[in-house]
């Protein structure tokens, strides 16, 4: 019963154009429930509609790069945990990857597998948390977030019993991994991974078809592929716009080419696609993990030539990058042959993914801005470093 389908469009627009009041400039953040930390957006509103949005950074700028340039390569490893504090395993790995590239170290097979296992577990943690936070921004009373954290706790338990810490694993080393998981650990992890799709199914039953979710996210915050590429956006946000670019496939990082998995792609580049990318990637991660547990080889986990202390790569530079859950996480290192890196730079996916935030939010309402920000998945430790 489409009442007057033809009518809408220009006349209606013209009517509404008359209705501009004063513009209201509101600062959202740094203390705001939905800016995922101490991010700040200065939003100019016309009614509820956003006509301008300026992000303000630096409220969590804790000088990671400067500190790293003043300490040894090894000492920076625990700092990378705190970079993207939801995914310490992948930041560890990305850093180890860059250092290994710099020094030309080899990594034993088992360690390569373990790295992939940890990275994919981290992806599960990150994506489930992100989805939970996204729903918080959408106005649920924490329920999806708490379900997500319930699953996260299980994975964190694994991390903790392996590496000693829930969040700050400090697990990778240059040339391998720190601890070798016991068979019991592997069994527990494998069982958890096998159970994970059940959680995903329940989650999707609960939310994916929800009409309010569809209405709130579909068509909101569209991002065109060409713009996304030009703005350097990576990770699920980019793939939601339909660009096939996953470093696990493109670079073939580590042993990823040995695994069978697919890269989901969105078509609309809107918030819903970004949400679904996460869900689908989690399902693919589960597949990778299942393969990894089946084929995990025995062997050492550290390159025997690697040394812990007194590590001095020869002069040169290297850029190592990894498909972290948030996008391309890169480390750019310049060594001058001393124990400390001369230049230590993190290429933060979260920061660069925010480049087009304003363009994505313009014309939407303040409620959408919050959701769009949530769907980009930032973590302030990485944005501001």
């Amino acid at each position: 019963m489409s009442l007057f389908p033809a009518n809408s469009g220009p006349t209606v627009r013209a009517v509404h154009d008359e209705f501009h009041g004063d513009l209201l400039e509101v600062s959202m953040g740094p203390q705001h429930p939905s800016t995922h930390g101490v991010f700040r957006m200065v939003v100019t509103l016309d009614g509820e509609q956003i006509v301008k949005l300026k992000p303000v950074f630096g409220y969590l700028h804790r000088n990671h790069e400067k500190i790293a340039e003043n300490t040894s390569y090894l000492s920076s490893m625990p700092y990378t945990d705190r970079l993207d504090y939801l995914c310490s395993m992948t930041t560890n790995w990305a850093y180890a990857l860059a250092v290994e590239k710099l020094s030309g170290q080899a990594v034993p097979d088992r360690a390569q597998y373990l790295r992939i296992i940890m990275a994919e577990l981290t992806r599960l943690v990150n994506h489930s948390c992100l989805v939970g936070f996204l729903f918080n921004d959408l106005g649920t009373s924490f329920t999806p977030l708490l379900y997500a954290f319930r699953e996260r706790e299980k994975i964190l338990d694994l991390f903790e019993s392996l590496s000693g810490s829930r969040m700050m694993c400090n697990y990778q080393r240059f040339g391998g991994c720190r601890v070798d998981p016991s068979p019991e650990w592997l069994a527990a992890a494998s069982a958890l991974v096998d159970n994970f799709p059940r959680f995903l199914d329940e989650y999707e039953t609960m939310l994916t078809g929800n009409e309010i979710l569809l209405a709130r996210t579909q068509g909101v915050g569209r991002l065109a592929a060409a713009h996304a590429i030009n703005a350097g956006i990576t990770g699920p946000v980019l793939r939601a716009s339909g660009v096939d670019y996953d470093l696990r496939k493109v670079d073939g990082t580590g042993f990823y080419p040995r695994f069978e998995f697919r890269v989901p792609l969105g078509a609309h580049g809107d918030t819903y696609d970004r949400y679904m990318m996460r869900i689908l990637e989690m399902r693919e991660s589960v597949k990778i993990l299942q393969q990894a547990f089946k084929t995990l080889p025995a062997g050492p986990i550290m390159d025997p030539k690697a040394k812990l202390r007194g590590f001095r790569p020869k002069a040169g530079e290297a850029y190592g990058r990894l498909e972290s859950p948030k996008g391309e996480l890169g480390f750019y290192l310049i060594s001058d042959g001393s124990p400390n890196p001369w230049r230590y730079r993190v290429r933060p996916p979260s920061l660069i993914n925010l480049t087009l935030l304003e363009e994505m939010c313009l014309g939407h309402t303040i409620a959408d801005a919050v959701v769009i920000l949530g769907s980009i998945d930032i973590v302030l430790g990485e944005v501001d470093r």
């Binding site: 019963m1 489409s2 009442l3 209201l24 509101v26 705001h32 429930p33 939905s34 509103l45 009614g47 509820e48 729903f135 918080n136 921004d137 959408l138 106005g139 649920t140 009373s141 924490f142 329920t143 708490l146 379900y147 319930r150 609960m206 994916t208 078809g209 929800n210 009409e211 309010i212 979710l213 569809l214 209405a215 709130r216 579909q218 068509g219 096939d244 996953d246 496939k249 697919r262 890269v263 989901p264 792609l265 969105g266 078509a267 609309h268 819903y272 696609d273 679904m276 689908l280 309402t365 303040i366 409620a367 959408d368 919050v370």
Partner: protein, 408 residues
Amino acid sequence: MSVVATDSFLERAPLLFRDWIVGHFPVALQWLVHHLLTITAILTVFGLFFAFTTIAERKLLARLQNRLGPNRSGLPWFRTLKLWGLTQPFADAIKAITKEDIVPAVADQVLHFLAPVVIVAFSLLGFAVLPFGRYLIPVELDAAILYFFAAGTATELAIFMAGWGSRNKYSLLAAMRALAQLISYELPLILSVVPVVLVTGTLSTRDIALAQGGWTWGVLPHWHVFTPWGFAGFLIFLVAALAESNRSPFDLPEAESELIAGHLTEYSGFKYALFFMAEYFGLTALSGLGITVFLGGWQAPCAFLEFIPSWLWFMGKLAGMIVFFIWIRGTLLRLRIDQLTRLAWQFLVPLALLNLGNAAFWALTSGWTGPLALARWAISAAIVIVPFFLLGRRLTAGYAPRTYRYAA
């Protein structure tokens, strides 16, 4: 309030108790005492009900989220006694009442002060006409339903006063949202009740509750919700009631993730608690109306359960409604303001108007029996369902779950 002798003692116990107390006063004052006692009873019962609603909400929400919820508050002097955390609201009350009160320097001091008072006062007023039991109705009005809605209108003003008076950007945005939301949903709320008025031919809550007495075969109560038009009306009523009391998924004015605490951003101490209280009072009163109008009021669901006093039935249904609202809150996400108003004007209002016609049809065909009764049911159901589908399709046009492709 006439007392019929055939009823059980329990049914009349509150009245007898009140009359017994009233009897101790001089005749000239008896009317006053009579009224005051009623009012005190309402305030006490619903004050406590509010307190336990908050703890119930926190605990049930917690259970919904696989956790325990508040369970350690206990009592001040017996620290080992935890009492399952049931004393939590009183701890909150003590905290709130001793908390410093901050009024922003630039705020409109008068409005900022008046808003919580007004909102509590007017959210209480609705209780005056709710029939809590067969004989427990604070005041019988001929136009009780109209009174109920009229009493609720001032809450909109209070929210506006709070938002505007705070002179905070978030509060202001919230105030405008609140106004738009409340005026949009007031209409479907009233319109959803009109069919019942039409069928029962009265605006008196007592008569409406009475009209739902009786059972088919002793188990199927004649509640309005069990008719097609009544069911549709009840659904509209539920949605509109949620929106009118600013509950999730319609909690836009105090949308935490967007507007901090909305119009409450600048309220601290007990004034904040008053708003909180008003929200629950409003919700409870609306639930009470919903029960009266659609869920048979104080009527028992089956004939053999009638021995339970009617006011217990009412309170039980009230608790059930509250639990339902908590459940909703624990599950759903928030609408956006444009979707919110669209839902009201382009879905609920037309449906409610159609439902009015449906009820008229129902009232006109009350004589149909036998197979005709079935036809009556079918037609009435069709009048509800077909527009529901069509309007719903229109509302969700363009939104659908998607399938995704994978990179080669």
